[in-house]
Every structure is written in structure tokens, then in C-alpha cells.
């Protein structure tokens, strides 16, 4: 077989078995990747098939006399994005702050237990968050809503009659914020601690204060990571079912976040699926498909943002 030498010691016949091992192992790993794509394809296929009737239904075919699927799902899309958006607005600064605290501010001995404690937040089941939001947080926020309405009522989001039960989109957003906080925190923390010491020390050696060092070295390095952490949190917030279903007192779309009203897609599905059949079921699954597409788009945007900043990132 070999052309160079008659009996090359490099062609060890026993090695063939070893090579097969490599092939099998890499093949298995590849298969696992393919399985994931297949599962996702199945999920997508299932969603599409089950929602086709609702998507293609004409006037009068939809349940409860809805005029069109899009006018049904549209307000909920807004509600879903609103709830997750407000949640992120609340959670992101706090989460980044906590991550910074753990990575750069807290005494080294404290930071590990603190990280553990924050991770615990992620471990609390969403039913418990829902129950907590419904029974404890909502009523707690009622005075705040009244205060906001009185003094900031001219801003549309505080415009509506404040809820007497506190079970509003804003409360739901706060609960979501609490739920996504540990996710964002732990990812940001991982990235912050990986900031090259080289760049941190470069900043400090120039006479930078700690905050200036964070601005010069940590944030530029972590920018992409923060974006993807926030996106991960957003994914969680968009898809959260039980907590929102328990906390929110849903209703038609409206600008005010402190009165009852608005609805998110996952909560709508959870609340109505049990009694749904026929077309109603198709509508709900179609709503699920819409949510799926939103997640997809959000992730694409995140990827885009991350890749746009790649060349500036400190990883070299």
C-alpha cells in the first residue's frame, strides 16, 4: 500500500482498532447534536401542523367569534414583550450590579457564598414565585401604585385606575425580574471574573479608580457576554407560564401597567388550554408558535449584536 517504504513502522495494524474508537465516539457526539436539531424540528413541526387551522381560518371560523387570529394574538404579543421588557429593565441593572459586586467589589471570602445564595433564587420553582407574587408582593405594591398614579399619572403607563389587588402587569414584571435576575447575574459574573487581569491592571496602573477600571477594562470585555446573558434572561421571561398565570389579572391590552389588564402568551395558553378543544386549541397552539418565533427573532438579534462587537472584544 505504501509507496515510500516497504515496511513502514508507522503503519501499525493494531492502530486500526483505535481509529475506529475515534470514529465511533465522534459519530456519537455528532449524533447527539443531530438529535437536538431533530427534537427542535419536531417541536416546530408539531407547532406548525397544530396551528395551521387557526392561521388559515377565515372570518367566522375562529372560536368565540374572533374576527381574525392576528387581532387575537396581537395584543398578547405586545403584552408578552411588555412584561418581559419591563422585567429586563428592572433586572438587568440590578443583575449587572450584583455580578459586579460578586466579581469586583465584595471581599473575596464573601463572594462565593453570595454567589451560592443568588443561585438559590434560580432554584425556586415558578409556582412558588407565582404564589408569592399573588399573595405577598401584589398587595405590598398597591400603595406604590396609588402613589404613582397620584403623582405620575400623566405618564400613560401609570395612567389607569390603580389595581386594588396589585395583580398587574407591573407586578408580574417584578416577579419575572426576580426570576431572571439569578440567570443574568450568574452569567455576567462568570464573564466579569474572566476579564483579563492584564487589562484590569493596565487601567489601575494608569491611576484609574475601581469604577474607572470597570468602565475601561471590564465592560468592554464583557459587552457581548452581557448581551447574551440578558437574552437568556429574556428567553426565560418570555416563556414563563405559571408565575404570570398566577400573578397577573389579565384583560385587554392597555397602556397602564398598574391596573388590571394585559395578557402574555404563555399565561393565556396555560389558563385556557384545559377548557379548549377544536379550533380554540389550534388558536392557543398557534399563539405558542408566535411565541416561538419571537424567541427565535430575539435570539437572532442577540447573535447579531454579539457578532457585531466580536472584533472589539478583548478575547485575543
Amino acid at each position: 500500500m505504501t509507496t515510500t517504504t516497504s515496511q513502514s513502522s508507522l503503519h501499525d495494524p493494531k492502530a486500526a482498532g483505535g481509529r475506529a474508537g475515534d470514529k465511533i465516539f465522534s459519530g456519537t457526539a455528532l449524533t447527539a447534536g443531530i438529535i437536538i436539531l431533530a427534537i427542535l424540528a419536531f417541536v416546530a413541526l408539531y407547532l406548525v401542523i397544530e396551528s395551521l387551522p387557526a392561521l388559515t381560518a377565515g372570518e367566522g371560523e375562529l372560536s368565540h367569534g374572533k374576527t381574525s387570529f392576528w387581532s387575537y394574538v396581537g395584543p398578547m404579543v405586545v403584552g408578552t414583550i411588555l412584561a418581559s421588557g419591563v422585567a429586563l429593565l428592572i433586572a438587568t441593572p440590578v443583575a449587572v450590579g450584583v455580578a459586579l459586586f460578586i466579581s469586583h467589589y465584595a471581599p473575596k471570602k464573601l463572594s462565593q457564598p453570595i454567589g451560592y445564595v443568588i443561585d438559590l433564587l434560580a432554584a425556586i420553582p415558578s409556582v412558588v414565585y407565582g404564589a408569592w407574587g399573588m399573595t405577598f408582593l401584589g398587595p405590598l405594591l398597591v400603595p406604590l401604585y396609588e402613589w404613582l398614579h397620584e403623582y405620575a399619572g400623566w405618564i400613560p403607563i401609570f395612567g389607569g385606575e390603580p389595581s386594588q389587588t396589585g395583580r398587574t402587569l407591573f407586578t408580574a414584571s417584578v416577579v419575572l425580574a426576580v426570576m431572571v435576575l439569578p440567570i443574568i447575574t450568574s452569567l455576567c459574573r462568570e464573564i466579569f471574573v474572566q476579564t483579563p487581569k492584564l487589562h484590569e491592571e493596565a487601567a489601575l496602573a494608569l491611576g484609574a479608580t475601581r469604577w474607572e477600571m470597570v468602565k475601561m477594562a471590564v465592560f468592554p470585555f464583557a459587552r457581548a457576554g452581557i448581551v447574551s446573558a440578558v437574552m437568556l434572561g429574556l428567553g426565560r421571561a418570555l416563556g414563563e407560564t405559571m408565575a404570570v398565570a398566577l400573578v397577573l389579572s389579565p384583560g385587554a391590552l392597555q397602556a397602564s401597567l398598574i391596573s388590571a389588564g394585559n395578557q402574555t402568551i404563555p399565561a393565556e395558553i396555560a389558563l385556557n388550554f384545559p377548557e379548549a378543544f377544536g379550533m380554540r386549541q389550534n388558536e392557543l397552539i398557534a399563539a405558542g408558535l408566535v411565541l416561538f418565533v419571537i424567541t427565535l427573532v430575539v435570539n437572532m438579534i442577540a447573535r447579531w449584536i454579539v457578532s457585531r462587537h466580536k472584533e472589539f472584544s478583548g478575547a485575543n
Binding site: 386594588q164 398565570a245 384583560g251 392597555q254
Partner: protein
Amino acid sequence: GSNNPTPENTGGEANGGGSLSGTISGGGASSQEAAMTAWIDGFRSVESGATVQYNPVGSGSGREGFLAEQYIFAGSDAAMDAEELEASQQVCGPDGAFHIPGYISPVAVAFNLEGIDSLNLDAETIAGIFAGEITTWNDAAIADQNPDADLPDTPITVVHRADSSGTTENFTDYLAAAAADTWTWGVVEDWPQEIVAENAQGTQGVVGQVTATDGAITYSDASAVGDLGTVAVKVGEEYVPYSAEAAAKAVENSNPVEGAAENDMAVELDRNTTAEGSYPIVLVSYHIYCNEYADQETADLVKAFAEYVVSEDGQSTAEGSAGNAPISDSLRERALESISGIGVQG
């Protein structure tokens, strides 16, 4: 006690201290869950070898699961429509499925006003409150009917069900029939979005919300209202508070659904009734069975369970647990006759 409470029982194997064995699964209305838990437990003590399980997935899913052969029987707050009945022939043989009103429960209109346990209201006023037209408790419409009550000027907080619900359907059915001018949204399972109000998930959710909110009002399965004040509804010239008897009476006085089969006990409630002592806001939750099952074992098991549910023993067990209204004797007789027809597909 005996597990064969009725002489009509023809299934030979189905008597004696538990000769049956096997598992039957049902699914459907969550309104029946508490009662079903009691029935399952009671049935187990009569037929120790047999297991019944029930998944409270909701009426719609229950009917659908039944038609998809996922459940042997279904619990449903609403009767099957013609289309579903036709589909049931695929599963149940040529005679299809039939309904038994196994669970009857009054729907209370409950409120939280300090010091007031009961209010008299007519259908128009109730509709006005729930439509958001009457907004304070000392509104003339309420005060006129309750001269003795010391009504505060607290705003009324309407709390309705957030989820699709048979209770909502029955309640709006009453409003639409008895106060058609004020309630213009018809019979719905989902509360109309145009009415801005508070809401919560499930019976427990709305009751909890009302209990926590001064001046709130809701409608709910009467068994769950606890210490809340309740409304006596105007029927004819008198005000009738909810009660098991009043609810059972309303069902008894109702008419069979048009064109239903002989043994099908689906009913059309008369919400506008003026019959003395009947309470028209009542929820009837059916048990849906096949006329014919694929094998003898299943048929026997279903028959035994169905008989137990409507038996005096079964109904009182359920009442003790779930607080529903036991069905009247005449209804029971008709039900047992229908059930006795369950057989095996030829």
C-alpha cells in the same frame, strides 16, 4: 354498606365485596374534582380491586380526550354538541355517548362587605354590577332591594375567572337569559375582555381574591365561598338564597335537550324560571359515558362506577366532601335506568 345500591343492576359480576378489578381513567371538568376524589375513594371501599383515576384537565380537554379514546369517561360542565355526539359514535358504537348529570352545584354570587351576610338582588342588578354599570355598593339599584342593609359607598370590585370556565359559562348563561338587556355579551366561557375588572385563576383564586379585597364580588361554585356574603336571587316575586335543594329543584324542573336520545340526560336549564324555591344559577356537570364499550370488563367497571356515583351513598359522600347538591330521587331513577343500558360493542 353495599356496593350495589340499586336493584336494576344486571351485571352479575358487579356485586358482592369487590369482585371487579382493573383501572378506568376519566378526565375533564375541574369543578368535579373534589367530588370525584370522594367518589373514587368511596368506590374503592366498595370495589377494592378496581381503580378509578380522574384527570381534572378541564371540560374541553376531557371531552376531547374521551373522543380520542384517552379517557373511558369524561366529566364536563357542558353537554356535547351535535358534532361531538356524532364523533362519539366512532368510539362508543352506533348509539354514541350519553350524559348523566352527576354533579350539581349552585353557583353563588359572593361578596365581601363587612357586616353584611346576604343581599337581595334581581337579575338586572346582578348583570349591572358584573357589566361594570353599577360601581358602588350604595347604588340605588342595590339599596332599593335591601332597605334594611347598611350599605357603604365602597367601590365595587368585580372579580371574575381568568381561565376558561364552566362556571363562567353557567353564570353568563343565567345573565343572558334573565337580564338580556343589560348583559349583552351572551353565553361565554371566557369573560368578555371589554369589561375591565379584576380576575383570578380558578375558583380558589377568585374566592381568595374577594376574601382579600374589601368591596369585591364574584361568582363561584357555592361550596368554596366560605364566610363570604352571598346574594339571594330574585325568582318570581321572592328572593331565593342558594341551597342544595333549591339547586336540585332547578335541575329537576329543566327540560331535556331537544332531539336527545332516550337515555341521554343532558338538560336545558330554565334560567328564567319562576318556580317557587328554585335557584336558577346552577352548574350541572355531566358524566359522559359510552353506550357500548369494547370489552365486558370495562363495561362492567364503568357501569359499577356510574351507578355508585348517582347512588344515594355516592351523592352524599360527594356532598360531604365537595359541598355539592345531591340529585333528587327522580333524577337518580332515570340515571340508573340510562346506566343500566351500558353494554359491549357487538
